[in-house]
């Protein structure tokens, strides 16, 4: 018996029991739908996050104090490290040292109490240099950003995010009012334009000042927690990294690269790490969805057993007319596979439609520019998984059918 006949026979067997076939594959449909959604949303999330990172400027290189963070907790550890000093910044800024660097922007930051009249909240306060405006791509709605003069004179001036402006000042114009940051009075000189959600730092809720005004007074530190270095082009990044390493090792008297007390991160590194995290999450969620596939597979097995029992007479007849055990096995196995594969196809289609719907809803209602993504891997996985389920869970009923003796099969019913 040729494969084409086997498939035709299997189809005919399923079409005779249309509604049963449809109900049988429901479990598989649900399972494959969830896997498709999880994979597609996972892929969408990844490309969204990567997009956010790249929006931050692909030419930026970050210097973190401390040893290369490898574990989940070492990121915290690096914040406590004090290896990046002002002299390092000054040396990095020298054109001779890092010729292909365009900007060197150091940061300090901390969560500190900020108050205006009766309002008091803990806020993200960030101190930097005026160039931070460009690096973060910030737009000032009212007033001005702090400038070099503010920086040099340790001026207690602050630029506040739009949410803070609303929460603290309401209808009052915040400009020239004083905010108390950890007891020190800072004059509001600018209000940022509201920036869309989805960035890692919520600028709408941040207070930005010259680093000179908060580093020692407010935060009580003598080092920098981050330094962003902008390379003149993406191609220049490796050279910039090498230059930075050389300068810092020189300054810190490090001869063995294994003993570096700083870490250099490119956008590429961050992107990779984010990719790993979303990848793990996707696998995790997909595994949960896979459980429903097993349940669906058991359902198929059940129905196939019922079907084999019901069709004992047909099996007997086919055997009497010359079907071998293998022919019968193939017929029922292909029936199971056809069921699960169609379940898989329907599931993939449903998954794509639902993902699209959800993406549109998120874009419209949450105003997050979450991209619609169709996971080809998810589709391939769905087809492979549903086929294997059909074969795995179909094999027992099919063998049961094949092993029926022709005479027993004919006698029944």
């Amino acid at each position: 018996m040729q494969l084409r006949d086997t498939i035709k026979t299997a189809f005919a067997g399923l079409v005779v029991h249309k509604s049963r076939s449809v109900l049988t594959i429901l479990g598989i449909v649900i399972g494959i739908t969830s896997i498709t959604i999880v994979m597609s949303v996972g892929e969408g999330a990844q490309s969204y996050i990567l997009g956010e990172i790249h929006r931050f400027g692909p030419n930026n290189v970050f210097i973190l104090p401390g040893k290369f963070p490898t574990g989940p907790t070492s990121g915290m550890g690096s914040l406590l490290n004090d290896s990046l000093k002002l002299e390092d910044i000054k040396d990095l800024e020298l054109k001779n040292n890092v010729p292909q660097a365009v900007k060197v922007v150091p940061f300090v930051f901390g969560s500190v109490p900020v108050s205006f009249e009766n309002e008091l909240q803990r806020m993200m306060v960030m101190g930097s240099v005026p160039q931070s405006q460009e690096i973060f791509n910030l737009e000032v709605e009212r007033g001005r950003y702090f400038d070099q003069f503010d920086l040099d004179s340790h001026a207690r001036v602050a630029v506040i995010g739009s949410t803070i402006a609303e929460d603290y000042f309401g209808t009052i114009d915040p400009l020239r009012h004083k905010l108390k940051i950890k007891g020190f009075n800072f004059e509001v000189v600018g209000v940022l334009a509201s920036k869309g959600q989805g960035s890692f730092i919520n600028y709408n809720k941040s207070v930005l000042t010259p680093y000179t005004s908060i580093q020692t007074d407010v935060l009580g530190i003598k080092y920098f927690q981050r330094v962003a270095v902008e390379a003149e082009s993406e191609e220049a990044i490796p050279a910039v990294i090498e230059d930075i390493k050389r300068v810092l090792r020189d300054n810190h008297n490090i001869s063995d690269p294994d003993k570096d007390d700083f870490t250099i991160q490119t956008q590429e590194d961050i992107a990779q790490r984010v990719g790993t995290i979303t990848g793990i999450l996707t696998v995790l969620l997909a595994s949960v969805a896979a459980i429903s596939l097993i349940v669906g597979g058991v359902g198929i097995m059940n129905i196939m057993f019922v079907s084999v029992t019901e069709r004992t007479k047909e099996i007997g007849l086919r055997k009497a007319l010359g079907a071998t055990n293998r022919n019968i096995l193939a017929q029922f196995l292909v029936e199971a596979a056809v069921l699960t594969i169609s379940g898989g196809i329907v599931g993939i289609a449903a998954g794509v439609v639902l993902t699209y719907g959800a993406t549109v809803a998120v874009q419209r209602f949450a105003e997050i520019n979450f991209p619609f993504s169709f996971s080809v891997n998810g589709m391939i996985l769905g087809i492979v998984v549903s086929t294997s389920i059909g074969l795995i869970f179909g094999i027992f009923p099919a063998r049961h059918a094949a092993q029926k003796q022709p005479v027993e099969a004919l006698r029944s019913g």
Binding site: M1, T9, L317, L321, A323, T324, N325
Partner: protein, 239 residues
């Protein structure tokens, strides 16, 4: 040369620890071209005998030679091929696939014989014409009358050009007119050289045969030649 030969054939069923002997000490031989009726009351074991002779079941004792080779030496697959190529079956309950056309039903044995689809259809149309059902080729079998269904079954049994056709109570579910037609076809097939084995409990069916084997209580009671075979096509039969 005997097509079918048995030596002290036995069949014992074991159910719930109780042994039931359905057949004992059956020794017979059937030559090619015979038209034989196996007759006996219900429960006599005649159907069991037919199932063993038709290679649907295996004996539990004695020997069965099909074309001079002992059947117990065949594997399941080989038996399937024998049933496919050398044996045709006609059952009392017709055993057609419902919701499938006459053509598809008749073609089925050729599918298992790996005959190309085009050839299958050509042959099927031929045998369907022989049983005079050409105008029903595309009908679903559930829409046919009992007599028509049995003719489809005969066409199906015939399509592989088997050496022997086993018919188990072929007229059992039919009115006498339809039964007559079925027997007429079987007789015609016999005239063309097919070996025919009909199992029945109705003595009038046996009139069509040339030899009658009486089975009682699982063993051969009498093996008689029919003096004058009744030609159904000309004479009909007397109930």
């Amino acid at each position: 040369m005997p097509l079918i030969k048995t030596e002290h054939l036995e069949k014992t069923y074991v159910g719930d620890g109780v042994e039931t002997q359905a057949l004992r000490d059956i020794s017979l031989s059937i030559n090619e071209g015979e038209f034989i009726t196996i007759m006996g009351p219900s429960g006599s074991g005649k159907s069991t005998l037919m199932q063993i002779l038709g290679c649907l079941d295996r004996p539990t004792g004695g020997k069965y030679f099909f074309e001079e080779r002992e059947v117990n030496t065949y594997s399941d697959d080989e038996l399937a091929h024998i049933r496919n190529k050398k044996i045709g079956f006609v059952f009392q309950a017709f055993n057609l696939l419902p919701r499938v056309s006459v053509l598809e039903n008749v073609m089925m044995p050729l599918m298992y014989a790996r005959i190309p689809a085009r050839e299958r259809e050509r042959k099927a149309r031929q045998v369907i014409e022989m049983v005079e059902l050409s105008d029903r080729v595309d009908y679903h079998t559930s829409r046919l009358s009992g007599g028509q269904k049995q003719r489809v079954a005969i066409a199906r049994a015939l399509i592989t050009e088997p050496k022997v056709i086993f018919a188990d109570e072929p007229t059992g579910n039919l009115d006498s007119k339809s039964g007559e037609v079925v027997l007429k076809f079987l007789q015609e097939l016999n005239d063309e050289g097919h070996t025919i084995v009909v199992v029945t409990h109705e003595s009038y069916v046996a009139q069509a045969a040339r030899r009658i084997l009486h089975i009682i209580d699982g063993t051969i009671d009498k093996d008689e030649a029919v003096e004058r075979q009744r030609i159904i096509a000309k004479e009909g039969f007397i109930k």
